[in-house]
């Protein structure tokens, strides 16, 4: 009798002793992610503290950036970052929207997939390639065919002249924004496309069945359905533009201070760090650059967190 009972007693599997260790290993790996983000915040805060402490709030309002006298203000790079990112978004948004609608609604079946794949592949091209193209191909073209003619045509003292003042070499705030727009375009277009494909076909079909035109279907059925996550996707694009480094460093002209016009050279938070960090002249210079990094981190974190919150809502549909 007793032997029969013993045979059904459930023994733990032989290698089960490793289970808690495996679980702990996985847990440790997940915690490393947490530590990585925490480490970024801590390092940037400690590293930037000397500069923030010395210049106080004026760090954010002063436009001087002078390694010789060791006086640093971040107003120029902050303004440059926001202006280029917003301009880039303004240019990329209608294009990305048009491309995604075309791919979802209008494109002939034969070209739909190849174009969609092409757009997605191009989203992965490294930014340094975009930067080189901007510097060697786009900037000279822009200087010769856009900047010079405008400079010739603008009457002195007019608004146009003020907006477009600058050295006609093609390295300026505006061309940097164009390159940024080209970079975030494929990314936003493929997210928009995926979002629109999540709309149930019945919704679209019933709208068409009621006699709606394609335009009305897009604006009044598709867009309202994906609105929140579409805004999230736009924020993701903005987050990318804010932190983009190499492409901008190549083409923005890298001058400090507030940009005076669209065609004036400038700098962004990321481009200033990229340009000066390896050759920082003093500890205060290094600290000021790390403080720029902290500002960039906080801005992008806020934008990305908002994007994530908006995109998260969509998932519960």
């Amino acid at each position: 009798m007793t032997t029969a009972v013993e045979s059904v007693v459930r023994r733990a599997p032989r290698e089960a002793a490793f289970d808690p260790i495996f679980k702990a290993l996985c847990f440790a790996a997940a915690t490393m992610l947490l530590a990585a983000l925490g480490g970024i915040l801590v390092a940037l805060t400690i590293g930037g503290w000397p500069a923030l402490h010395r210049f106080g709030f004026s760090f954010f309002t002063v436009t001087t950036w002078n390694p010789v006298t060791d006086v640093y203000g971040a107003a120029g790079p902050i303004a440059g970052t926001i202006v280029t990112s917003v301009l880039a978004l303004a240019m990329a948004l209608p294009l990305a929207f048009g491309v995604s609608v075309f791919l979802v609604e209008f494109a002939p079946r034969a070209i739909r997939r190849p174009v969609a794949i092409a757009v997605e592949l191009l989203a992965g091209i490294p930014s340094i390639v975009y930067g080189m193209w901007g510097l060697f191909v786009f900037a000279p073209f822009f200087a010769q065919h856009v900047q010079l003619p405008i400079a010739m045509a603008a009457t002195p003292g007019s608004l146009l002249e003020k907006l477009t003042a600058g050295v006609p070499n093609g390295a300026n705030i505006f061309t940097a924004s164009v390159i940024l727009a080209i970079m975030i375009l494929p990314y936003m277009a493929s997210v928009f496309r995926e979002l629109m494909l999540t709309v149930p076909p019945q919704l679209r079909e019933s709208a068409y069945g009621m006699g709606a035109t394609a335009m009305e279907v897009v604006w009044q059925v598709l867009l309202p359905y994906v609105r929140k996550s579409a805004i999230g996707a736009v924020m993701l694009g903005l987050g990318r533009a804010l932190g983009e480094t190499m492409a901008v460093t190549f083409i923005i002209g890298n001058s400090h201070g507030l940009p005076k016009s669209l065609f004036d050279s400038g700098s962004t938070l990321a481009s200033t760090i990229a340009n000066e960090f390896a050759e920082a002249t003093s500890d205060m210079h290094t600290s000021a650059l790390i403080a720029l990094g902290l500002v960039l981190f906080l801005i992008t974190f806020a934008v990305l967190a908002m994007a994530r919150a908006l995109l998260g809502v969509q998932r519960t549909y």
Binding site: P13, E15, I21, F22, K23, C26, F27, A28, A29, A30, M32, L34, L37, G39, I40, A43, L44, G47, L95, A96, G98, V99, V101, F102, F106, I117, A118, L121, G124, I125, P126, I128, V129, G131, M132, W133, F136, V137, I182, P186, A214, M215, E216, G239, G243, T245, M246, F250, I273, F277, A278, L289, I290, G293, L296, F297, T300, L304, A305, R308
Partner: protein, 282 residues
Amino acid sequence: MASRRAALRKTSNVVFVIFCAATTIIALGVLAAILYSLLSQGVGGLNLDIFTKSTPAAGSPGGLANAIVGSLMICALAMLMAIVVGILAGTWLAEFGGDSFYAKVVRFLNDMLLSAPSILVGLVVYYFMVAHLIGHFSGYAGAVALALIAVPVVTRTTEDVLKLQPSSLRESGVALGAPVWITVRKIMWRAAMGGLVTGGLLAFARISGETAPLMFTALNNQFFSLDMSHPMANLPQVIFNFALTAYDDLRRLAWVGALLIAVAVLAAQIIARIIIREQRRS
């Protein structure tokens, strides 16, 4: 009146269709122009020297051998670290974390890390490793910086593909009397293998062109070197330095380097796509 309204609706619809088609043509046109420049400037400079000689001083012949080898070594070490940490972290999120608060926090922070500006990762690795731990620039620091960028990609895809597997798979492992870790290793990871490889390829595509995180970590090295504990040449940094010089021969090398990176990235992405499609078919 009604017919006029209908006409207006029709016309605006036509305008809208034309707008969408035009944006697609513009977008594809610009992207084609970039690829054209890359090919026309890069292919001409391709020759055997690129792969056998190290980066030259201006005016003398040379190639990119030291940068290519450096990039490969830094990327390989980064991928090794990223795959180990990323797969374990993704497994924790999918198999153990569930909907707990901690899992939600990790998931959120992983998403943040996924899109964090890469230059900040470079800054932080500089601060911890280059400035304090080691005391000088090194290939190891570059690999850690790239690993930090690749880990969130691997974690995310690992979690996603593991969650796609049916729970009956997990149950069958446990029913056979296997411990959890063997179930995960021999059943779950194996079932999700295609997805895991895809995640690795996407992470590789992401880091192979990253320049900003290497600027303050691996720095650069004019000479051929296999020593990762010292500054190391890498393609992105060489491209950046050479593109900004005034010498035509160095600029040509920069274009060749950019072409090599773009080809590597596109190849990784295309292979990843093919794997995904094969998985779907089977």
